[in-house]
C-alpha cells in the first residue's frame, strides 16, 4: 500500500452549490501532500470528508487500505484553518482534555505534553488561561494538541497563517521532522513558497474539481517554458542569433540573462552556441515557481 489516503470520485452537494464534483486524490504514505486551491474551491470540505466529519454524497475514501471508518478519527491529527480553543480554560487542563478525547490516558497525555511544551518553550504558560496567551503561542498549543497522539496521518489546514516568520520556520521544521518519523502529512495552503519547500506531492483544486495533481518536481518540469538563466560577466553580451533573450539584468560584476531555448535544441547545443560569444559563469534552467503554475492553471481554468 503505497498510498495512505485514496479518495475516489468524491461528490458533495450543498443546498446551493456543489462543493466537490468528482474529486479523486492519492496521498502517498510518509510524504507531505499539499492541497492547493483558491478560496472556496472545496479544500476544507474535502479535508472534512477525509476527517470523517462530513459524509460525501458519492465516492469512497480508503484509509490505510480500508474504507474510512469512524474509529479512524483517532489515527488523524487535525489542525483546522480557523483555530480556536476554550478561552477561559487553563492551557494545560485544556490540552489534557483534548488529548483524552483522542484516546490518550491522562498520565500519558501529561507526560507527552510536558515534552512538547518544553520543546516549544511554552511550559511557563501551563497554568494560564488561554486568553492570556499571544496568538503565536495559542497556535503552538494548538499544533501540539494536533500531533500529541502521534497519529499516522496529520492534516493541517493553512498551518502557516497567523505565524510570524520565526515561528513559521519552527513549524516547518517540525512538520518535516514528523514526516521523517514516518507520518503522512496532508496540508492545504495558499502559501506557494512553502509548497515548494516541503511538499512532495500536490493536488490543485479549483471550482470543485482537481485540475492538477502529482509530484511537485514533475509538475514543475511539465510547466517549464524552456527558459534558462545564464550568468555572464557584466559588460559583455552575446548576439541574439543563438536564442531569444527574454530579459537581462546587471548585478555588480555579473549580468543575468534569461533566454529561451529554441525548439528542438539540446542544452549542450545551446550552451556551445553561447560559449562561442561570451564567458559563461553559470547556466541553469528556470523552473516555474508553484506560484506561477497556480496562477496559470487557475486562470486557464477560469477562461475555459
Amino acid at each position: 500500500m503505497q498510498n495512505f489516503i485514496v479518495a475516489e470520485n468524491i461528490v458533495k452537494r450543498f443546498a446551493e452549490h456543489t462543493a466537490l464534483d468528482g474529486v479523486s486524490i492519492c496521498v502517498p504514505r510518509g510524504k507531505v501532500f499539499g492541497l492547493l486551491g483558491p478560496n472556496g474551491a472545496g479544500k476544507t470540505t474535502l479535508i472534512r470528508i477525509i476527517n470523517h466529519i462530513t459524509m460525501p454524497d458519492e465516492g469512497t475514501v480508503t484509509f490505510d487500505g480500508h474504507d474510512l471508518r469512524a474509529e479512524d478519527m483517532l489515527s488523524i491529527g487535525y489542525l483546522p484553518e480557523e483555530r480556536g480553543l476554550y478561552k477561559k480554560m487553563k492551557v494545560g487542563e485544556q490540552s489534557i482534555y483534548l488529548a483524552r478525547l483522542k484516546g490518550l490516558s491522562e498520565q500519558e497525555a501529561r507526560r507527552r505534553l510536558k515534552i512538547w511544551f518544553e520543546k516549544l518553550d511554552i511550559m511557563d504558560w501551563w497554568n494560564r488561561k488561554l486568553e492570556e496567551l499571544s496568538k503565536g503561542m495559542q497556535q503552538k498549543v494548538q499544533f501540539i494538541i494536533t500531533v500529541l497522539h502521534e497519529p499516522p496521518l496529520l492534516i493541517f489546514d493553512e498551518p502557516f497563517s497567523g505565524f510570524d516568520p520565526v515561528n513559521a520556520e519552527i513549524l516547518k521544521k517540525e512538520i518535516l521532522e514528523l514526516r521523517d518519523k514516518g507520518h503522512t502529512i496532508l496540508f492545504s495552503t495558499h502559501s506557494m513558497a512553502s509548497v515548494e519547500e516541503i511538499c512532495d506531492n500536490i493536488a490543485l483544486i479549483n471550482h470543485s474539481k482537481v485540475v492538477l495533481q502529482g509530484p511537485v518536481n514533475q509538475i514543475r518540469t511539465r510547466y517549464k517554458k524552456n527558459t534558462y538563466r545564464v550568468t555572464i560577466p557584466a559588460g559583455t553580451s552575446f548576439e541574439n542569433s543563438a536564442c531569444e533573450v527574454i530579459g537581462e539584468e546587471t548585478k555588480g560584476k555579473e549580468k543575468i540573462m534569461i533566454v529561451r531555448k529554441p525548439e528542438g535544441e539540446t542544452n549542450s547545443q545551446l550552451l556551445s552556441h553561447l560559449a562561442e560569444h561570451v564567458e559563461i559563469l553559470s547556466f541553469e534552467e528556470c523552473l516555474p515557481s508553484m506560484n506561477d503554475i497556480f496562477i496559470r492553471v487557475v486562470t486557464d481554468n477560469e477562461l475555459r
Binding site: A15, R48, N51, I53, T54, M55, D57, A70, M73, L74, I76, Y78, P80, E82, R83, G84, L85, Y86, K87, K88, M89, Y97, L98, R100, L101, K102, Q142, I145
Partner: protein
Amino acid sequence: MSKIWIIIQREFSVRVKKKSFIILTILMPFLVGALVFVPALLATMKSGEKNTVALIDVTNHYAPILKGTSNIHFVRESAMKKSFQQEGSPFDAVVFIRGDLTRNADAATIYSRGEVPHAVEEYVNDKLTEKIRNDRLSVYKFTNIKQVVADAETKFSVKTARWDKNGNTTISSSDIAGVVGIVFSLFIYMFILSYGGMVMQGVVEEKTNRIVEIMVSSVKPWQLMIGKIAGVAFVGLFQFLIWILMLTSIVAIAGTLFGVATTGAMPPVVAMSAEIPQGTGLEWLHIIQGMNFTEIIVLFVLYFIGGYLLFASIFAAIGASINEQQDAQQFMMPIILIFVFALYAGMFSIQNPDGPLALWCSFIPFTSPVVMMVRVPFDLPLWQIMLSLVLLYGTSGLIIWLSSKIYRIGILMYGKKPTFRDMMKWLKYK
C-alpha cells in the same frame, strides 16, 4: 461512551468551579427567603405616613365617629373653601358629607389634589359602613339588635382533611398545596430555561470560538451535544441537591426553634387535626409537613430532566445554527411563548386542578413539566403522572434525535444566518 463521559466531566467541572455558580448556589436560598419574607415584613409594618384631613359634615351625624387614627388626623371645617384646592393647603384630603348616607349613598366624597391616600379612604369606608349599618338596624325596633347581629356575624373556614392510602387523616389545604405547586413550577420553569440557555450559550461559544472544529475531529457531533446537555444537567441537579440539603437543614433548625416536631418531616405526618391549636400560625408548618415531599421532589427531578432534555436539545440545535448570541432572539421567541403559556395554564390549574386545561397541558410535553408541578401537590392519579412522563420522555428522545441532526450540520456552517427552512433541510442531509 467513554468520550461522552470525558465531555460530561469537563462541562460539569468548568461550570461548577465558576465563582458565579458557587456564589449563586449559596446565596439563592437566602434570596428566595428574602423575597418571601421581606414583602411580608413590609406589609406588617405600618406606613409611617401621616395625613391631615379636613372634615366637612353638614349633617353633624357622622363627624363624631370619624375620630381618626394615629396616622389620620381629622380637622372639622364648616364649609368647603377655595384654599383647600391650592398647593399651600395644610390638608392632604377633604372629606365632604352632604347628607344622610342611608338614603343617598352618593352624599359623601373625598377630595384630594393628588391620589386619595389609600389609608384614608379605607378608614372612612370602614367607619361609615359600620355607622350606616347601625343606623339601618336601629330602624327596626328590636331590642339588643346590635348584639344579635354581632353574634350572628361569623367568618367560617372549613377544615380540610385527606385520607392517605393507609387510612390516616392528614390535614390538607388547597391553598397551601397551590402555593407549594406554584413554587415548584416556578422553580422548574427557571431551571429549564436557565440551564437550557446555558447549553445554548455553551454551543454558541464553541461555534464562535471554532473549537468545535477540533472537537468534531475527535468525537462525533452528537456525542459532543449529548455530553454538553448531560454535563449541564448534572450541574442543575447538583445545584438542586445543594438547595434541598440547605432547605431541609433550615427547616429543621426553624422547626426546633419554633418547637415543632420535625422528626420524619418527609413522610406524611399523621395528623391530629383536632389537637392542633388554632391560630398559632404554625398550622401551615404542619400542613406542609403533611405533604408528600418525597413524591414531589422525585417528580420534580423527573420532570426537570424530561423538560430540560426536551428544551436543551432544541436550544442546542438553535445554538449550533446561529453565528452569534444575538441571533438567538428570533428562535427564542416561540419557546418563551410556550413557557409563558405553560405558566398561565399552571396558574389556572390551581383553581381547578382537574379541569380540562390542566389535564391537556399535563400531557403536552412542552407544557407538562410546568403544569404538572402545580398539580402534583394535589395528589394526582398515578396513570396521569405515568402517561405524562411517558409522553414527555418519548418526545424528548425524538427531539434530541432531530436536534442532533440539525446540530451536526449547523456547527460547521458559518456565514449567513439560517432560516427555519434551512434547518429543516439539514435534517435530510446525510
